[in-house]
Symmetry: C2
Subunit: 337 residues, 2 copies
């Protein structure tokens, strides 16, 4: 690994994060569960199969258009469970608070946790709060861990994309990252960008019912964006994924803000989006199910899966060229979730 | 609640923590699971009953005699599950790292996580790493969440202490808190104090087998110490607990350090201690089981449970007096775990 200190890009969700995970964590903690490197782990218990996951949230600012750190912490963990085809059931809530943090803000965050968990029909069953002296943390950090039940017969995973499959997304990309960045930087845009932060469990349940065993992969493109998530899938499945630039849904406000900030929406974090990879025969039913749900009105096919000797992601550009989409390198947006 | 800002004592594990939990968290997130306010939640899934818990670790310094933040994070969550009579199975690991944290230190911490989880026969199945810019956190914070299987028929809980029961502890008190404090403050003591940080799952399993349904309560006296943990039990069970000062095991080095620092070992955090409350008929078998385990050689009876109109904890002092032991008030030792 480069250097001898933790760098911001070790938390980017991109290449440096992968390096940290492989060189430091996997090497020391290796087991069959962790090795899969999926959004959540599948564990078998007597009588049921569970998905289990954890995520810490350090987003700055803690309140942003379309969401806040509390809702985000609930949505993110629900979504990681949903991406295994699990029905999210129980969450834990671990808070690290900075001395001096306003109790009014804490109440607002916890109200948001309560609303988000109620909406998604999950329960917060255990919690923990630590307080550190002023200057030892930045206001509030939240960890949520969660478990969900994986129904018998459900089998989706990032290693399960197959040549011939199509790649579907449920709506526009880049909204969350840009909502946070424009608020943090105080950019005045013509149209305010709202985070897409949302619980995807009902949406993925509908897609699984419609797609059955033909639905092969579910993945939420959070840190590192769509390009990084698809690279992970390509690598784990040993396939090439081809995206068509003309089919990528990007909201006009996100597109202009990206131009202004020099960002590529394909690498920007989403918190209410899901990549679905399905057998082409099942794709129309999956699309119909997605479009029937409020979070899937904009669902569409954005690419396809090919057999390949070297796994990777290709973008067919609007002008007819082809560009390799690597994983995110560098830290594009620190503290984005 | 006093004031409008988070204060250090909101994280003490004592009275102010309780206030925060009741006024802000329970009021907003209330459900049958959270309401129990036990060390971990019991949740029923098809085919099995699970305990589930979370804890964040912000201990300073991160390396201290007898342990470090990595082992502590594993032990703490294992112990919270064990206190429900559960067999800890799977843990998640959420890291928040400060930009610039030495990778050598990170490796040492993760080595320690690996050793501790192997020793206790639990698996880390999922993880997450966030990096925040320099100055937004202090080196490393760790969250561990975990699940464990509760064997059929096991029923222990902090609300289950009954008049006539005896109170047992598996060894000396105050070691963890003093090990961290003396290292943090750079105190040179004649004898170095080592943290008691240890996984208690094998010990509690042995105690449960020996005590059967006569073993009513298991609780680990972490933040807030023995006095605070017993107050919680007294309140939840509606009983009075009487401790005999002469029977409290305190290591001589801890006793002198406490005198030096003006601390009461009854309020100092432990990380490898367990309070067990059992029917007197079953107590000898429980004591024997504890003493047969390396972490229970010093097990002994330290008090008893009485019926009472007003729940609380009393200390019979060495000189024959009686003193009310309240919950911890104020923040005795910030960042102790």
């Amino acid at each position: 690994m480069r250097g001898d200190r933790v760098q911001l890009d070790h938390g980017s969700g991109g290449e440096a994060s992968q390096e940290l995970v492989c060189d430091i964590f996997l090497r020391r903690l290796r087991n069959d569960y962790l090795e899969k490197m999926d959004d959540s782990a599948l564990v078998d218990l007597p009588g049921c199969r569970l998905a289990m996951t954890t995520d810490s949230y350090v987003v700055d600012p803690i309140f942003f258009p379309g969401g806040d750190i509390g809702a985000l912490a609930v949505h993110g963990t629900i979504n990681d469970l949903s991406m295994q085809g699990a029905r999210p059931m129980f969450l834990t809530l671990g808070l690290i608070l900075e001395e001096g943090f306003a109790l009014e803000d804490l109440k607002r965050v916890i109200d948001s946790v309560a609303t988000a968990s109620k909406e998604a029909d999950v329960k917060i069953v255990a919690g923990d709060t630590k307080v550190v002296p002023r200057g030892h943390a930045d206001r509030i950090f939240i960890n949520t861990a969660g478990i969900g039940i994986v129904p018998p017969g459900v089998r989706v995973g990032a290693d399960n994309a197959q040549p011939g499959d199509v790649v579907i997304i449920n709506g526009t990309i880049g909204d969350h990252g840009l909502a946070v960045m424009t608020r943090r930087e105080g950019l005045a845009l013509e149209a305010e960008i709202h985070s897409d932060s949302a619980p995807l469990n009902a949406l993925t349940e509908a897609a699984l019912q419609a797609g059955g065993p033909g639905l092969h992969v579910l993945r939420d493109p959070t840190r590192g964006g769509v390009a990084t998530a698809l690279n992970e899938i390509a690598r784990l499945s040993g396939v090439r994924i081809e995206l068509a630039e003309k089919d990528l849904p990007v909201a006009p406000a996100v597109e202009s803000a990206c131009e202004l900030l020099g960002l590529d929406p394909l690498y920007v974090a989403n918190e209410g989006k899901c990549l679905l990879i399905a057998h082409p025969a099942g794709a129309p039913a999956v699309l119909e199910a997605l479009r029937g749900h409020p979070l899937g009105h904009g669902a569409r096919i954005i690419g396809k899966v090919r057999a390949a000797r070297r796994p990777g992601v290709l973008l067919k550009t609007r002008v007819g060229g082809t560009r390799i989409l690597s994983m995110l390198t560098g830290e594009q947006l620190p503290r984005i979730c």
